[in-house]
């Protein structure tokens, strides 16, 4: 039997299809889902609007409430959801590969706790400051995230250039606990309105109100994704074993550092835009792996696309379930995440 025949015979099984084909199918399928979700989401909301009125040019924009709801309230929100969902899902995949653990999340290493501390500090103390056209809250949040990431990076590279996963996890857990304590302390010091707003921020909020906050984090997201593009095949090898990867030509130390920096940057950007929305970074990669296998070259792009669709869909729920009140989107993802994990555990058991 020639090798060509063997290849064809075995190709019947989905997972032995060449990765090119799987990648094309995954990107095509999830991409279509993401696009469809983003196109349909602005049509739904707590207020009924007429699409005809939205696009009616004869009404001046400043008087067209339907158009304003569509273009000012909903579209930026859908875009923010897509960007945040894609970013958190992709960061989740990279952290899981880097920590060799499918249960890792973008928040495991303390980046999100740093972002929350920064935002909290800004909400409580910096109420009157705005830097240029940007509110200080997202900026402070980025600074906090950067601080947390820098501390973890420094601790993890102290003895081992290749960033020992044990030290990473310990540093992350410690930082999470410490920053959470600081956040509680800050809340204790302040008055009601600020505590309430701070709590609300922690539950996640995609209502950006304009494209500006999205544009502000877009450069960071773009850099993170550019770094992500270089990682997948190295991540595959790395997740089989450090020595095996090195022996196959992977620069282990550089890959670990690149993974850490890019995933932390992505998480920082997403959290500063919309607050720490949990479970995206773990539900989406898991679901995607169930469908496309575990090859990171497929899982990473597929997760980004599915993450976008998923968060936008959750936000639609957030806006409509208890209208006119909004259920914070972080609560929706948590309500979905809990049962999902129970189901996973039951399945594995």
């Amino acid at each position: 039997m020639s090798t060509l025949d063997s290849t064809v015979a075995v190709g019947a099984s989905a997972l032995t299809r060449p990765v090119r084909v799987r990648l094309a199918l995954a990107v095509g399928g999830f991409g279509a889902l993401a696009v469809a979700t983003c196109l349909l989401a602005p049509l739904v909301g707590s207020t009924t609007i007429s699409l005809a009125r939205v696009f009616d040019r004869s009404i001046p924009f400043s008087e067209n409430v339907d158009a304003q709801i569509f273009f000012i309230a909903r579209m930026p929100r859908v875009l923010a959801g897509a960007v945040t969902g894609a970013t958190l899902a992709a960061a989740g995949v990279v952290f899981q590969a880097m920590l060799r653990n499918p249960l890792a999340t973008p928040f495991t290493l303390g980046v999100s706790a740093g972002a929350s501390l920064g935002a909290m500090t800004a909400i409580i103390f910096g109420t009157a400051i705005a830097v240029g056209p940007l509110s200080i809250v997202p900026l402070a949040s980025l600074l906090g995230a950067g601080l947390a990431a820098a501390i973890v990076y420094w601790l993890a590279t102290l003895r081992d250039r290749a960033m020992s996963t044990t030290v990473l996890l310990l540093a992350g857990v410690t930082l999470n606990a410490f920053f959470s304590a600081l956040i509680l302390f800050l809340q204790y010091l302040t008055n009601f309105a600020e505590v309430y707003r701070a709590m609300r921020w922690i539950m996640g909020d995609l209502d950006v109100g304009s494209f500006q906050p999205i544009l502000a984090v877009l450069p960071l997201v773009a850099i993170a994704f550019a770094m992500f593009a270089l990682l997948p095949s190295s991540l595959n090898l790395l997740s089989v074993g450090s020595d095996a990867a090195a022996a196959r030509g992977v620069n282990v130390a550089r890959t670990q550092r690149l993974a850490f920096v890019s995933a932390s940057l992505a998480t920082a950007a997403a959290v500063s835009l919309a607050g720490p929305i949990g479970f995206i970074g773990i539900i989406v990669p898991h679901l995607v792996r169930l469908l496309v296998g575990v090859d990171h070259r497929v899982v990473l792009p597929a997760s980004a696309l599915f993450g976008a669709a998923f968060l936008v869909a959750c936000d639609v729920g957030s806006r409509t379930i208890l209208a006119p009140l909004e259920v914070p989107v972080g609560v929706i993802t948590a309500l979905l995440g809990g049962p999902f994990f129970l189901w996973l555990l039951v399945r594995k058991g």
Binding site: V10, L15, S239
Partner: protein, 265 residues
């Protein structure tokens, strides 16, 4: 073909008593086409030496040369195209299929963003068939038996199409039957495909059975190296392990055997 010269390497000491060297001035020669065994008690530095020879670690002193070219002058990818390593244990963190595991061996031959093509797939299939694991291609790696796993790992090393294969305790965790399987496979690969092999092991009989050359190590130094029949003697075993042993040629097996008798007083 692969030569390590005056290699020294140390791990930073936790007790703060200064650097302790786990390898001292080790010189090793692995001739082309040979099946060389690296023998010694646990902790003698076998794994460290293997990692140095593969270019995974950089020696503090000394150098490693591949066909006369120093490893330091080659990129990691280039080294990987010539030298493959089979580590002691493989525990993937994710549920890869056998095919995916085997295709990982093609990594050093692909560009940074390049995906495997039909040629790579063909090589993978060939490696699977050479190790008798073709029928396992679509299976999840983690569901295989010990022997099957080891053969898949060998297949992935084959896919790397390297001239040299470094193995760290390839049969340590295997049952007797699988040990024989893997040993037979290695011998066949060495003979039929001229893969030069260096095998680190503490199993004297395995080394005697497989290897035509031996390097004996103790406490970070080379005790002796040369053809198996010359090097594997009772006095040597005594020096290496502190054990009185009977070393004799076994007609049926066709190679030396080592039978431990008693501990040295």
């Amino acid at each position: 073909m692969l030569r390590g010269t005056e290699l020294s390497y140390g791990y930073a000491s936790d007790r703060g008593d200064g650097r302790s060297f786990s390898l001292r001035e080790v010189s090793v020669d692995v001739p082309r086409g040979s099946l060389t065994g690296l023998l010694g008690p646990n902790g003698c530095g076998k794994t460290t030496l293997l990692r140095l020879l593969a270019g995974i670690l950089t020696p503090r002193h000394g150098s490693v040369a591949l066909n006369g070219r120093p490893l330091a002058s080659l990129s990691r990818r280039e080294i990987a195209r010539h030298i493959a390593v089979i580590p002691q244990e493989t525990h993937p963190a994710f549920d890869y299929t056998v095919m995916e595991m085997v295709l990982m061996g093609r990594h050093p031959h692909l560009g940074p963003l390049q995906l495997e093509g039909p040629a790579d797939l063909a090589l993978a299939r060939e490696a699977l068939s050479a190790t008798g694991t073709e029928h396992l291609a679509a299976r999840a790696y983690m569901t295989l038996s010990g022997g099957e796993k080891q053969r898949v790992i060998i297949a992935s090393a084959l896919t790397q199409a390297s001239e040299v294969l470094l193995l760290d305790e390839p049969t340590a965790s295997l049952d007797l039957g699988y040990q024989l399987e893997v040993a037979t496979l290695l011998t066949r690969l060495n003979r039929e495909r001229s893969v030069t092999m260096l095998l680190a092991t503490h199993d004297l009989n395995l080394a005697a059975a497989l290897c035509d050359r031996l390097v004996l190590m103790r406490e970070g130094r080379v005790l002796a190296q040369g053809p198996t029949n010359d090097v594997l003697t009772a006095p040597m075993v005594r020096q290496l392990y502190g054990v009185v042993a009977d070393v004799r040629y076994h007609e049926g097996a066709g190679h030396l055997t080592v039978i431990p008798v008693s501990r040295e007083r």
